[in-house]
Symmetry: D2
Subunit: 255 residues, 4 copies
Amino acid sequence: MSRAVVGGVGGSPFGYAAVMSDHAPDPVTAAAAPEEEVVTPPPPQPDYPRYRVEPGEQISLADLSPDETEHYERKRDVKDELAVHRERIADVQTRLYAEQRKSLLIVLQAMDTGGKDGAIKHVFRGVNPQGCRVWSFKAPSTEESSHDFLWRYHLRTPSRGMITIFNRSHYEDVLVVRVKDLVAEEVWRARYDTICDFERMLARENVVILSSSCTSPRTSRSAAWRRAWRIRASTGSSPPTISRSAPPGMPTSGR
Amino acid sequence: MSRAVVGGVGGSPFGYAAVMSDHAPDPVTAAAAPEEEVVTPPPPQPDYPRYRVEPGEQISLADLSPDETEHYERKRDVKDELAVHRERIADVQTRLYAEQRKSLLIVLQAMDTGGKDGAIKHVFRGVNPQGCRVWSFKAPSTEESSHDFLWRYHLRTPSRGMITIFNRSHYEDVLVVRVKDLVAEEVWRARYDTICDFERMLARENVVILSSSCTSPRTSRSAAWRRAWRIRASTGSSPPTISRSAPPGMPTSGR
Amino acid sequence: MSRAVVGGVGGSPFGYAAVMSDHAPDPVTAAAAPEEEVVTPPPPQPDYPRYRVEPGEQISLADLSPDETEHYERKRDVKDELAVHRERIADVQTRLYAEQRKSLLIVLQAMDTGGKDGAIKHVFRGVNPQGCRVWSFKAPSTEESSHDFLWRYHLRTPSRGMITIFNRSHYEDVLVVRVKDLVAEEVWRARYDTICDFERMLARENVVILSSSCTSPRTSRSAAWRRAWRIRASTGSSPPTISRSAPPGMPTSGR
Amino acid sequence: MSRAVVGGVGGSPFGYAAVMSDHAPDPVTAAAAPEEEVVTPPPPQPDYPRYRVEPGEQISLADLSPDETEHYERKRDVKDELAVHRERIADVQTRLYAEQRKSLLIVLQAMDTGGKDGAIKHVFRGVNPQGCRVWSFKAPSTEESSHDFLWRYHLRTPSRGMITIFNRSHYEDVLVVRVKDLVAEEVWRARYDTICDFERMLARENVVILSSSCTSPRTSRSAAWRRAWRIRASTGSSPPTISRSAPPGMPTSGR
């Protein structure tokens, strides 16, 4: 059964086709067909499938260099290409909002100074704020921490037609708590299942989830936000397994 | 692994021991041991295990007569026994609230005039309102219905130390929608999994769930609220399967 | 114009008549007339008008002894009388809930160990929890403190038909902040106006507000909760002025 | 005392100086002084003070022609100028967000097809969505309408550092209800005071409020959103009085 498949269809990291397609066919097929109904044409190559993680795929973040700059040499190269993407995102959002059928949840996960705020600002400043909401998650409040760990995230998931961006997310609850030894192993281990159940449920209920892990380059951080995006596809069926050697910033499988 | 097991331990439909036990042992063992730390002694026999559904148990609501009155003949019999229970519930609640470790979610499901409001009033009017919250679910608001169907329920689950009562619940989303043909079969069918995942998650996160189905007697409704309680144990592992011949008021398995 | 007048009408500290009267006449007149429609008869004398503060009245909390025990000598005297009150509160609540016209906001203000939790437990444990909600206010969360100071209180005011109890309240925002020098004088001084505007608005919108200041006796605290209640009537027109010599636990006028 | 004064300082309808000034001086003075600390220079003349209503000022919307096009003849003229404004709004927002001291509430009021959605999309699509939230108010939900009429608006006011846009607002509660005769006169009449108290409170608590009434031109609607903006300054002290001959879309004084 085809659930929401996110990421890279049509050569784009933003899963336009998956989010938007009117008839919700197999997204791969949809991507192959020309997207005539989209106002703005798809942005030019290159695209970023190499940073997309397919369901069930095994990857190791350690294998990906955060210093990789691709063919981008100057900040200006990124800027122009980004402007094209921003325009297209705005167009696609207009349709998402008008259709009121699906919603898009973008999860940005990263270490401190990993570029989350910058990514939001630069990538999404072209969207209509009426259809977009950003939630930043910090240390939980007393009320939040007296509920199950997913409570505060579920509460802020997008309603139909909306794009919601999580600046930090429920992934912290299997990351920070492990690094800082805040909860027992059996607790955080069970949370992997919980998270998968939760995302599967959202996918079933028409929320398309796009999870990303941003990592800082080891050298300079300027102009780095773009090349450092690591896209992780999150589907209802089988979330990607990420090897344990992964650096902090992305939950590695607890199983 | 022993998660929260609800219902009937210690000969009580309210699962006192399960909710309260300090050391969270196997609830069955705990129930066998004397509960010395509880102020009020357990209420006298009879108890109600015959109305409790164990995880994985197959039952048919049609086999249970809503007209059954047990040994209760006059309203007064119920009244006196209930007063004892109320006292004990209040005592147990005091500990639940003081411990701030677990919480209790009571789900009351019934048809109209099935006795939900009465059950809440008569059974729970002795509790300290500071530790108890009742939420009645009616037709969803526009905002609620533009989120996944669990959203409005999750938002109102109890925080640690609290008792929360759902007057109607997420079970409606596999009941009413089927009866009235509001959503496609593949949608409501998937919701059974979603509900089980959801309750399993809550159980893992220290929410003890006690789901009940109240049914009206076919004859008179006076003094009927008590004898008509049907307790359904909801645990993290394997929810009870209820046969398809069950009357409305309780989700029957969709599989 | 007669807005909601709270407190003591009909010889009761709970303002039954004001909250409940079907035809909303002048509450003073209503109190004089027999309350035939109320199921339970009014509780026996004595009543507590001496602890009620009328709109515009000047009082000094320092003039009221927290050690005053009235004619109550044993805990048992309080207990029996309280049981009668509890019964009546439950009856009156049933009507409040059924009418869905007005709501009742009870504000409990006190110093630590001032008896707020006990007052809630002992006075309100007879109410139907479906119609009663208690909110305890502690240090504000990050989100709460990044809004205006009334935000978190307004959010939790009762909906029609409900009784809501504030365990601590917006009065803290002119108390604690002064004692601990948390905000500038011009800020807390302006808050007196803000609070009066806010309560006046609620009163206009059918919320009856009953504000109380509980003070601990200087000697023993046992059985003290009852005799130490200080009722302050809060109306839409002119809130009571409390002299500056008042001890912490009740906002004194900032003007 | 100088509270938040909104509108037009520095020749801009967006009250940049008022929102942003570090030292919060008299906004009029601040506007006269060069705004050296703002990155982007103020947009070119013309500015729009003729559409700004000062506190206490008497205006009649009927005197303002919605067909007025100023010197704009082609859509393109508007577009270019708007791009400059958008850039500056984004810059100013960055500072508002970074300072975490004040917040901005923009109230868009208009009749259906009055251009609210378009105004949001075209004016605010350059902002960082992390610092901007838009709330559209439609018919109140059951829960919303069982609270005081301000409840749902107060709940959604901006936290410090944020821009919040109300698409329709609490002004509807003195407009629609009058036109459709939904509430008694004494109820809606009192709401004018309530609204002024509310906005005064927000202003005291560092929320700068910018209320606008958008009106459709009687002829063509294309490119009309810009010329049809009517800025109404809302301050803590004395809200503007608008004559009764005003067309729907803006509350006229009830007194």
